[in-house]
Amino acid sequence: MNVLYFAWLRAKIGSASEDLTLPEAVVSVGDLIGWLKERSPGHAAAFADISCVRAAINQEFVDLDTIIPPGAEVAFFPPVTGG
């Protein structure tokens, strides 16, 4: 599954995307965040304040409870700041 990071989440994690195989226990976006936080100190820093993190699945905004469908593109980013 492809996970994308934008703006300061990308900067903190040090990567714009990761191709990941999720464990079965990871079902929702919130689960995914909990699992990603364990991957590195950078991930932990990026997701430290969840109120500043927004998510999209297959390019649609979603909230933390949303179930991740198989083969989804999941993206994490800060609140948008416009042009």
């Binding site: 703006a7 999209a56 390019q59 800060p78 609140p79 948008v80 700041t81 416009g82 042009g83």
Partner: protein
């Protein structure tokens, strides 16, 4: 549908001309061009970089352009939004709306700009004279402007 997300500069006059040409139902055209202004005396900002979510940005812009066409009787509409690094004086964003009546052209342009400022997946990073960079936080005044349209 006329939505472009691009790194290259654009020319407001050329874009208006191309959009209007040959459509004699158009009575009024509103354009809005947003520029990188010189914040340097206040904050030392000399350039900005806009990051976006390729694919999602285009989809969202097409959706909002379609919504504007539904809300107002438009003959033509264009959204151009740049990404990447831009310095003071460069154009960032262009909205052009054309209608038989001026009110529709004005309102739809303002609607699209308010939306772009608050909902489009762009993230702004500011670069100061000393070379440091920082990501800009979302602004409440822009949210208030967008809320006028009930979105």
């Amino acid at each position: 549908m006329a939505v472009r997300v691009q790194a290259e500069r654009f020319d407001t006059g050329v874009e208006i001309e191309a959009l209007v040409a040959g459509n004699f139902a158009i009575g009024g055209v509103t354009s809005f061009t947003g520029y990188v202004r010189d914040f340097s005396t206040e904050s030392g900002v000399v350039a900005i970089t806009l990051e976006h979510y390729p694919g999602m940005t285009e989809r969202m812009l097409e959706t909002i352009e379609a919504e504007a066409r539904q809300r107002w009787d438009l003959e033509a509409a264009l959204i151009i939004h740049r990404y990447g690094r831009m310095t003071v004086g460069e154009p960032i964003v262009l909205i052009v709306t054309a209608s038989s009546h001026r009110q529709a052209a004005f309102e739809s342009a303002e609607f699209l700009m308010d939306w772009l400022k608050t909902k489009a997946p762009f993230w702004k990073c500011e670069e100061t004279k000393d070379g440091s960079e920082h990501w800009v936080d979302a602004r409440e005044s822009d949210d208030a402007a967008a809320a006028r349209w009930g979105r």
